[in-house]
C-alpha cells in the first residue's frame, strides 16, 4: 500500500473528527479553560501550545472544547464524544488509551529562596507547616499526602484545593504556591509543572527541588504524561504518537520555557523518541 493511500485511510478513519467543510479537518481537544500552566481559554497554557504544534503536524485545525477538569472529566468529554483528545494525562491510566509520554515530571519541594532548603522527605521537620494538594478531594490524596501521612505528618499538613474551587485571585493550582510565597506554609510538595511555572511568578523567588527518584516512598512521585484518546481510537493514537516523536525537540523547548522541572536521577533517555 502506498504511503499516500495509507494516509488517506487514516484520514478516513478519523472522519468523525472532521466537521464542516471537506478540507478543514478538525482536532477537538478536551481541556480546562482555567488550569494554568496546563491549559487556559486565553491560549497561554503549554497544552494549548503543544496541541497547536500537533495540529500543524497533523494538518488539522485545533478546536478546544472547554470543560472543568473535575469529577467525571473523561466521562463528560472524551467518552461523551464532545472532543477527541485530552492533551495531558498519565500514561497507563485506565480510563483512556494513552499515547507515548511526551514528558515526565515529579512532585517537588517548593520553598522560599531565603528559607530552609528541602530536598527530600527526610529534610522535613515536625515544626514545619507543609502545604499539600488534593487532600481527600474526590476521595483521593496526592502522592505527597500519602507519603507524609505514612511518616506521621498530619497536624503539619495544610490542604489546598486542586479543583472545584474558583479562587479570588491567582490560578487554581497557584494557591499553594502563593502560600509558600507569603509564608503561610514553610514548604509545599507540588506536582512539577505548576511548581516550576509559578516558582518564578510569585512575589518572592521560590526554589523547586523535585523529589529524588531514588528516595523510597509508599507511592510513586514521578509520572509520565502522554495524550489520552478513546480506547477504540487506535488510529488517532498512532497519529498522535507519530506527531509527538517528530515534534519532540520542539515540545522539549516549549516545556523548558514553562519551567518544567525534570525528574531527578531519571534518565532523559526515557523521554527520547
Amino acid at each position: 500500500m502506498s504511503l499516500a493511500c495509507r494516509s488517506w485511510l487514516v484520514a478516513a478513519a478519523v472522519m468523525p473528527l472532521v466537521a464542516g467543510t471537506a478540507d478543514a479537518r478538525e482536532l477537538r481537544v478536551c481541556a480546562d479553560p482555567d488550569n494554568m500552566p496546563f491549559s487556559h481559554e486565553s491560549g497561554e497554557g503549554f497544552e494549548n501550545k503543544v496541541m497547536a504544534l500537533v495540529g500543524r503536524e497533523m494538518g488539522a485545525e485545533v478546536k478546544f472544547v472547554w470543560a472543568p477538569q473535575w469529577r467525571g472529566f473523561v466521562r463528560k468529554t472524551l467518552r461523551a464524544r464532545t472532543c477527541d483528545v485530552i492533551p495531558g494525562i498519565p500514561t497507563g491510566i485506565d480510563r483512556a488509551r494513552t499515547t507515548r509520554p511526551y514528558y515526565m515530571s515529579s512532585y517537588a519541594f517548593v520553598t522560599r529562596r531565603d528559607g530552609v532548603p528541602i530536598r527530600s522527605f527526610s529534610d522535613l521537620k515536625k515544626d514545619m507547616a507543609i502545604g499539600v494538594q488534593l487532600i481527600g478531594d474526590d476521595g483521593v490524596n496526592s502522592p505527597p499526602v500519602e507519603e507524609l501521612a505514612a511518616r506521621g505528618y498530619t497536624s503539619e499538613l495544610k490542604g489546598y484545593m486542586a479543583w472545584g474551587r474558583v479562587p479570588d485571585n491567582g490560578a487554581p493550582l497557584e494557591q499553594i504556591m502563593m502560600a509558600v510565597a507569603d509564608g503561610t506554609v514553610d514548604v509545599a510538595v507540588v506536582w512539577g509543572p505548576p511548581a516550576g511555572y509559578f516558582a518564578t511568578r510569585e512575589a518572592v523567588p521560590l526554589d523547586v527541588h523535585p523529589v529524588d527518584g531514588n528516595e523510597k516512598t509508599v507511592v510513586p512521585m514521578t509520572f509520565a504524561i502522554g495524550m489520552g484518546v478513546r480506547r477504540d481510537d487506535e488510529d488517532l493514537a498512532k497519529e498522535l504518537d507519530a506527531a509527538l516523536v517528530k515534534l519532540a525537540p520542539e515540545i522539549r523547548t516549549l516545556l523548558d520555557s514553562y519551567g518544567l522541572p525534570q525528574p531527578v536521577r531519571k534518565s532523559r533517555a526515557e523521554l527520547a523518541p
Binding site: Q69, R71, G92, L157, A162, W163, G164, R165
Partner: protein
C-alpha cells in the same frame, strides 16, 4: 459519601459467610422480567424463622407519639414531626389494593434521579424536581390533576459539577400557606403555596466552596431548618434555622469547630463520656482540619414538640483519607439533639467515630415511645449506614440497642456500656493494599432512603442495600493536572447475591420479621398505611404494595423508570384515597442510567457502577409523577 482510599479489613472467619461465586452469577444473569400477571415476585420473600419470629410474640410494641399525625394530608416528606411516614387512611387496603390502578401521570422532562416526595395540602399536590429544581403544583380538583402553577428558580448550572452523587432534591415542605425548598446551588426558597409566587429566598451555601443543598427543609414551630451537602469537597457542615416568614437566620450550628460555633453550651448533657469535653470539634482533629472536616447535614430532621428538641445526623468526616486526620473527628457521623428555639445542643452521639468507610450519620430518626425493660422510654430509631439499627433514648442520648440489620464485618457491634462502635481492627487502612469483601460498602447498609413505622403493626419497614466492596489494586488517576495513585473501590452484591432488601424490623427484638430480596438496592422511600400495607419502589421500576404483616406482595405496577422517590398517600378533594410516587432512576446508585456512565468503568460513581452494571438492561432515565387510586 465517597469512595475509600483507605483500607479496611475483613473480620476473621467472615469470608466464609459469603458466597461470591453465586453472587457474581446472579449479577450477570441476563435480565428476564417475569411477564405481567405471572409470579413477578421479588427475588424471594423470607419469613425469618427462629428468634425473630419468637421475639415478636413476646416483646412490647413501640407506639407512635401523639404528635405523629396520621391525617389525610401529607405536608412534609416524613409525614409528621416523628417521621413515621404512616397514614391512617385505609380505603386502600390489603383486601382491595389488587384493584388499584394509575389515575394520573405527569412528566418532568428530566433525566436525573427523582428522590422527592409528592406533598399534598387541601386540593393541591406539590413536588420539586432534581436540578434545575422546578416546583410544580397540580390541581387535584380537576380531572387528570393538571398543572396549577410551576415555579422555576434561578439555579447556577455550575452546581451540577459540585454534587457528589447525582443532582437530586429530596423534596418540598408545606407550612402555613408557604412551600419551602432548597436548590442545588445552595438557596432556600419560600413560595406562596396558592400562587407559586416567591415570598423570600436566601443564598445559604457557596458552590465555590464545594457546598450544595439537596435535602428537604423541615419546619419546626416558626422555623424552617436546612443544612448543606458536600462532605466530599472539603466543606464544613452546618444546619441553620430560618424564620418562616422572613428567611432570616435564627441560629446556625456548625458540625465542627469550637463549642461556640457548634452551639454547645450549658444545656449540653451527652450521655457518654467520649462526647464530653471542651471544644471537641477542634481537639479531636489535627490542627485546623476541622475547618474542612465535613459533617454536613443533608438528611432528615425530626422534631419532638413536647421536648422542644430536633434531631438530625451529620455526614462523614473529611478529608476522605483517614490517616491524615487522627482523632474521633467530632461532630461528624453522629446525631445531634438541639433546642428548636436556640439551636443549642442537648446531646450528641457519634455512631462512627473517626469514620473510615463513608458511613454518614444522616439517615432518618423515627421518634417512637416504648416500654423498654419495663421502663417507659421516649426513643428515636435510627437505621445507620454502618449497618446497625440504633434505639436511642431521645431525652438523654443513651443507646438502648444497636443490632445489625445487614451483613457487617467492618465492626463487631456496639458496646452498650460505653456507646462505642467496636471497629474490626485486625488490619488498619494501608495505602496500596488490596482488601476484599468489606461490608457494608460506602453507601452503607442503608443510605438516605427513609424507612416507615406502622402505628398498627409496630414494625419498621427498612428499604436498604446489600452491598459489599473490594478495594482493588492502586492505579493512576488525574484531577485538574495532578496525578495520583489511588485504591479503587468496586462495590458488589452482598451475601446471597441480591443487591437490595426491604425488611420489616422488630425494634424490641432487634431482628427482622420478614425481608424481601430485590435485585437492586432499594433506593426508594417507604410508606405505611392503616390498610395494613407498605409501599416501596424498585430501581427496575416496580412500585409494590405488600402486606405489612407478612411481606406478601399484593399489587405492583411498572412505572416508566426506576423508582428512588418517596411514596406518599393522601385523601383527594373527592374524598378518595390516593397513593403517589415519583419515578425516575438516578441518585448515587442509579447514576449509571441517569448519568449515562460507561459500564466498563466500574469505579465510576465512586465505585458504585461496578455493582450496577446491569441496571441499564432494566430501565431507562426519565422522571414522572404517578398517582394511583381505586376504580
Amino acid at each position: 459519601m465517597l469512595r475509600i482510599p483507605c483500607i479496611v479489613s475483613i473480620g476473621a472467619g467472615f469470608a466464609a459467610v459469603f458466597a461470591y461465586a453465586a453472587a457474581a452469577q446472579e449479577a450477570t444473569t441476563p435480565p428476564v422480567d417475569p411477564p405481567a400477571g405471572a409470579a413477578a415476585q421479588p427475588l424471594s420473600v423470607k419469613p425469618l424463622p427462629g428468634p425473630a419470629a419468637d421475639a415478636t410474640a413476646t416483646t412490647v410494641k413501640p407506639r407512635a407519639p401523639a404528635f405523629a399525625d396520621a391525617g389525610p394530608e401529607w405536608v412534609t416528606p416524613g409525614k409528621n414531626p416523628a417521621h413515621t411516614r404512616y397514614s391512617a387512611l385505609n380505603q386502600i387496603n390489603a383486601d382491595n389494593v389488587g384493584n388499584m390502578r394509575a389515575v394520573s401521570t405527569f412528566s418532568t422532562g428530566l433525566s436525573a434521579g427523582h428522590e422527592a416526595a409528592p406533598v399534598v395540602v387541601g386540593s393541591t399536590l406539590y413536588f420539586v424536581t432534581p436540578y434545575p429544581n422546578v416546583v410544580y403544583a397540580l390541581d387535584l380538583n380537576q380531572p387528570g390533576f393538571p398543572m396549577k402553577w410551576k415555579f422555576e428558580p434561578t439555579v447556577v448550572a455550575a452546581a451540577q459539577g459540585m454534587a457528589c452523587c447525582d443532582i437530586v432534591n429530596r423534596g418540598v415542605v408545606f407550612d402555613n400557606g408557604r412551600i419551602f425548598f432548597n436548590t442545588l446551588d445552595g438557596q432556600t426558597y419560600a413560595l406562596n403555596a396558592e400562587t407559586g409566587e416567591e415570598i423570600w429566598r436566601r443564598q445559604l451555601a457557596d458552590i465555590k466552596q464545594g457546598e450544595t443543598m439537596t435535602m428537604a427543609p423541615f419546619v419546626a414551630k416558626d422555623k424552617v431548618i436546612v443544612g448543606n451537602s458536600g462532605g466530599e469537597m472539603g466543606v464544613r457542615g452546618w444546619a441553620q434555622a430560618l424564620d418562616v416568614a422572613t428567611g432570616e437566620t435564627a441560629w446556625k450550628a456548625y458540625s465542627t469547630g469550637p463549642d461556640e460555633e457548634v452551639l454547645i453550651g450549658a444545656e449540653y448533657e451527652p450521655f457518654y463520656d467520649q462526647e464530653k469535653g471542651k471544644d471537641l470539634g477542634v481537639t479531636t482533629w489535627p490542627a485546623d482540619m476541622w475547618k474542612t472536616g465535613g459533617g454536613t447535614v443533608w438528611g432528615w430532621i425530626s422534631h419532638d414538640p413536647e421536648l422542644n428538641l430536633i434531631y438530625y445526623g451529620t455526614s462523614n468526616p473529611g478529608p476522605w483519607n483517614s490517616t491524615v486526620r487522627p482523632g474521633a473527628n467530632k461532630y461528624t457521623a453522629g446525631i445531634f439533639a438541639r433546642d428548636v428555639d436556640t439551636g443549642q445542643a442537648r446531646w450528641f452521639y457519634q455512631m462512627s467515630p473517626h469514620d473510615v468507610s463513608d458511613y454518614d450519620g444522616v439517615n432518618e430518626n423515627i421518634l417512637v415511645d416504648i416500654e423498654w425493660n419495663g421502663e417507659e422510654r421516649k426513643v428515636l430509631a435510627h437505621p445507620d449506614r454502618n449497618g446497625h439499627f440504633y434505639v436511642i433514648d431521645r431525652e438523654t442520648g443513651e443507646v438502648l440497642s444497636a443490632k445489625p440489620f445487614h451483613a457487617v464485618n467492618s465492626s463487631h457491634g456496639v458496646d452498650l456500656e460505653t456507646g462505642a462502635l467496636i471497629y474490626n481492627t485486625d488490619k488498619r487502612p494501608e495505602t496500596g493494599k488490596k482488601v476484599t469483601d468489606i461490608c457494608p460498602a460506602p453507601p452503607g447498609a442503608k443510605d438516605w432512603q427513609p424507612s416507615a413505622f406502622s402505628h398498627d403493626t409496630g414494625l419498621f419497614y427498612i428499604p436498604h442495600n446489600n452491598l459489599c466492596m473490594d478495594l482493588v489494586e492502586t492505579e493512576v488517576g488525574y484531577i485538574a493536572g495532578t496525578p495520583y495513585v489511588g485504591a479503587d473501590v468496586w462495590m458488589k452484591p452482598g451475601p446471597g447475591g441480591h443487591r437490595g432488601e426491604f425488611s420489616a424490623w422488630d425494634m424490641a427484638a432487634g431482628a427482622e420479621v420478614w425481608t424481601i430480596n430485590e435485585r437492586f438496592p432499594v433506593w426508594s422511600g417507604t410508606l405505611a398505611t392503616a390498610g395494613n400495607l407498605v409501599f416501596y419502589g424498585t430501581m427496575e421500576g416496580w412500585f409494590r404494595a405488600v402486606n405489612a404483616t407478612t411481606g406478601e406482595e399484593l399489587w405492583r405496577f411498572r412505572t416508566g423508570s426506576g423508582i428512588i422517590g418517596q411514596p406518599t398517600t393522601w385523601q383527594g378533594p373527592d374524598g378518595k384515597q390516593y397513593v403517589s410516587v415519583l419515578s425516575g432512576v438516578g441518585g448515587w446508585a442509579g447514576a449509571i442510567v441517569s448519568g449515562n456512565i460507561d459500564a466498563r468503568d466500574g469505579t465510576a460513581a465512586l465505585g458504585f457502577v461496578n455493582a450496577m452494571k446491569d441496571l441499564p438492561d432494566y430501565t431507562t432515565a426519565g422522571g414522572a409523577l404517578y398517582v394511583f387510586g381505586l376504580p
